[in-house]
């Protein structure tokens, strides 16, 4: 019935709280473990989240909504966790202080009346004790009850319905004051049970007298405090949430403005406006990004300008070389016939010299012409003059025009069956080169075949093959056969060409979107294959297509 017992009662409460706390901590650990398991199970949730994000409309999964949601979540979690912790501590403090005060007063009162209450007491003794306790603590809304065995006295009303069996059992078996908070009719009450003990000289522990007093105190004031705290936390959370949304919108605006400017600038740049630059504001990462973009754009502009300058120079060079080479060649070529005609009438040496000059001039003319053609490809100055032609007829004309029809075996589709859009002049160059090569470097029979290969339902190719029966092409020469100035003449008859003919052929085929290849035939000789895409749609006879390079 003294200080240590109260302390014990307090300890009991703290112990219970501690146990509760431990349980809560245990729950958290369990939750954490669940999360760990979930994370370890794989990427299912992540994939699910991504799938959900992918299906979400763009305005909802943009940076702004995501920032708002993140800021709001952080604000709500922070406010709620802070509020919860503060609430718990404050509530515990309020209740603790209240109950400690009540228990202390009650104990003092019980100590005072217990001295004058005889054991075993009569009912009137119990009533006296109750009245004395109540009188000592007036105007506090106390309800007091005294019990001894089956005897009981209470005032102002019966409070036995608020006493739980556990509390009664504790009071009957323990020597310390016990208390409990209960809710009755929607109101919180503090119920305190105080067993009266007496000391004997023989025993260390005091003995229970069987006389106990109970107190019920309404805790409306404390309840009001707690509710006020909850309301305050709610309001604080709401304010934090609003602030978070505003801050998120501000932050998103600060990030999105430069990002949008960057997007606009990159689009403009892609459209060819290389002089586009971003305004650099501040000194944060976004300003760094803008600065980097500006540096990149400036570097790109410089590079492109340099490339254009070089390209223009290359074109000018090609044009200048063309003119400068052609002019003297024009003079020389014009008189080669005169030289050729006069050569037989001169002495042997002078005649041979004239013939050499004449032949050299002719070869130089061809070389210059080929060089000019190649340089036009390099400068991107070539254009396709597309026209829908009968491929077989076009190839036949090439052979007839050069007097080769008797020297080449042809297997061509019937006239009118294979029409496609090509540049007839360039196709003529390609076919003349391949057939001319086969006749010059290979051996008869030279064959020319033309077939159609369906690649897909909507894609088909005209396949033109030129085969000869000569020694074929050396395997080491095969990968270089379409390179410029490459002559595979070591294994073939002596070449008089410049080594540019096949390169020009390949360029012309590529310009048409086609393919060209060379191979040796198992039975001897070589085969050159040209594949041209069959284009029949949207025919336009006046169409001119920019060089593809």
């Amino acid at each position: 019935m003294s200080g240590p017992r109260v302390a014990r009662a307090r300890k009991t409460v703290r112990k219970r709280d501690a146990v509760r706390n431990r349980e809560v901590v245990g729950d958290r650990e369990v939750v954490r473990n669940h999360e760990a398991v979930a994370a370890g199970e794989g990427r299912g949730p992540v994939r699910f989240l991504r799938a959900v994000l992918a299906k979400t409309p763009l305005p909802l999964r943009g940076l702004r909504p995501r920032l708002v949601v993140a800021f709001a979540l952080v604000a709500v979690v922070s406010a709620l966790s802070t509020g919860a912790l503060a609430f718990r501590e404050a509530r515990t403090g309020v209740l603790q202080q209240s109950q400690d005060s009540v228990i202390r007063q009650f104990r003092t009162s019980v100590d005072a009346v217990a001295v004058y209450t005889p054991l075993p007491p009569r009912r009137s003794d119990l009533e006296t004790a109750v009245n004395q306790v109540l009188r000592a603590n007036q105007s506090q809304g106390w309800q007091v009850m005294a019990t001894y065995g089956s005897l009981r006295a209470f005032t102002p009303g019966d409070i036995s319905d608020k006493l739980s069996p556990e509390l009664r059992r504790s009071v009957g078996t323990h020597r310390a004051a016990v208390f409990q908070r209960v809710n009755a009719d929607g109101h919180p009450y503090l119920v305190v049970g105080m067993p009266v003990t007496y000391d004997t000289s023989e025993e260390k522990e005091p003995r229970l007298s069987g006389f106990a007093m109970y107190l019920v105190v309404p805790q409306n004031t404390e309840q009001a405090y707690v509710q006020a705290m909850v309301g305050g936390i709610e309001r604080a959370t709401l304010v934090a949430l609003c602030l978070a949304v505003v801050l998120a919108l501000l932050a998103a605006g600060g990030v999105l403005r430069p990002v949008r400017a960057l997007r606009r600038a990159t689009r403009r740049m892609a459209e060819g406006h290389l002089d586009i630059r971003l305004a650099v504001n501040g000194s944060d990462e976004l300003a760094d990004l803008s600065r980097s973009f500006n540096d990149t754009a400036a570097a790109l502009e410089r590079s492109v300008a340099e490339l254009r300058r070089l390209e223009a120079r290359a074109r000018r060079f090609a044009a200048d070389v063309s003119h400068e080479l052609r002019t003297p060649l024009a003079a020389m070529s014009a008189v080669t016939d005169v030289l050729d005609e006069n050569a037989p009438h001169l002495d042997q040496e002078t005649g041979d010299a004239l013939r050499l000059v004449s032949e050299g001039t002719s070869r130089l003319s061809v070389l210059v012409e080929d060089l000019m053609e190649i340089s036009r490809f390099d400068a991107g100055a070539v254009r396709l003059n597309l026209d829908e032609v009968d491929l077989a007829e076009s190839v036949r004309r090439t052979l007839v025009a050069r007097g080769w029809q008797g020297r080449v075996e042809t297997r061509l589709p019937r006239p009118g069956t294979l029409r496609t859009r090509v540049d007839p002049r360039r196709l003529d160059v390609v076919m003349a080169n391949l057939v001319g090569n086969a006749l010059r470097h290979g051996a008869p029979p030279v064959r020319l075949t033309m077939t159609v290969r369906e690649e897909r339902a909507d894609v088909s190719w005209a396949v033109i093959e030129v085969t000869d029966s000569g020694p074929g092409i050396a395997e080491e020469a095969m990968p270089h056969i379409f390179e410029r100035f490459y002559k595979a003449s070591t294994a073939r008859t002596r070449s008089e060409s410049s080594g540019l003919g096949l390169a020009i052929t390949a360029e012309n085929v590529y310009l048409h979107g086609g393919r060209v290849s060379a191979a040796n035939r198992p039975e001897g000789g070589s085969v050159f294959t040209v594949e041209l895409p069959l284009r029949r749609e949207s025919p336009d006879t006046d169409e001119t297509t920019e060089g593809a390079r």
């Binding site: 002019t327 024009a330 014009a334 080669t336 016939d337 012409e369 003059n385 004309r397 025009a401 006879t541």
Partner: protein, 229 residues
């Protein structure tokens, strides 16, 4: 003996071509500038003009246009610039044919003779009793005169020959290759740029540029035909 007016600024080329053409049997007068060529046009009365494209002073293109404005003499353009665009520009200025430098004398001679032959042939194929009218276009095959909306249209030889060839069979579609052979007598698988450039020039002179041409119609994927309506 065909009379050839050669306009070429480079002295070596001028001398060489002059020498070669004389060797081939032509009567050649060589002018060093466009101005000199234009001056000599009337007194010399050439059968054909061989004109270099790049000239100091008046360019070859301008010379070609000025000759076309007042004379129907055939013009063969000789160009050191072999790019497609240069050739097309030259043809559209009114040249009847073109060759790219360097050119052998035999080739140039063949081209000259072909141009002259076509001019003579224009007369022979055009022998018909009277003028024929196609809407507002009147073609006098005997007199080799063309008028549109009552006004005389001055046509270069290749333009006239193209118009005569197409209008001889109204409604019939001619491929470019057919026209190339019929009008330019190119015996090789030639250059359709000649046809397209000449059609463009002819349309320009008949006031048909832009919109839907009435007389010289394009048949997509095939060639051209003369509108019969």
């Amino acid at each position: 003996m065909p009379r050839v007016l050669l306009v070429e600024d480079d002295p070596d080329v001028r001398k060489a071509v002059q020498l070669a053409l004389r060797h081939q049997g032509h009567d050649v007068f060589a002018a060093a500038t466009g101005e000199e060529g234009l001056e000599r046009l009337r007194p010399f009365r050439p059968d054909v003009v061989v004109l270099d494209l790049m000239l100091p002073g008046i360019s070859g293109l301008d010379v070609c246009r000025r000759i076309r404005d007042r004379d129907q003499v055939p013009i063969i353009m000789v160009t050191a610039k072999g790019d497609d665009i240069d050739v097309v520009v030259g043809l559209e200025a009114g040249a009847d044919d073109y060759v790219v430098k360097p050119v052998q004398a035999r080739v140039l001679d063949a081209r000259i003779r072909a141009v002259l032959r076509r001019q003579d042939a224009s007369v022979s194929v055009a022998v018909r009793p009277r003028a024929e009218a196609h809407g507002e276009l009147v073609i006098d095959r005997a007199g080799l005169l063309v008028s549109h909306r009552g006004e005389r249209v001055a046509l270069a030889p290749s333009e006239l020959r193209l118009l005569l060839t197409l209008s001889a069979s109204p409604g019939q579609v001619f491929s470019r290759q057919q026209l190339l052979e019929a009008v330019w007598e190119h015996s090789y698988h030639g250059d359709i740029r000649l046809v397209d450039a000449c059609v463009k020039r002819l349309r320009g002179k008949l006031g048909e540029l832009g919109g839907d041409p009435r007389y010289i119609q394009t048949v997509r994927g095939f060639g051209y035909r003369f509108g019969s309506s």
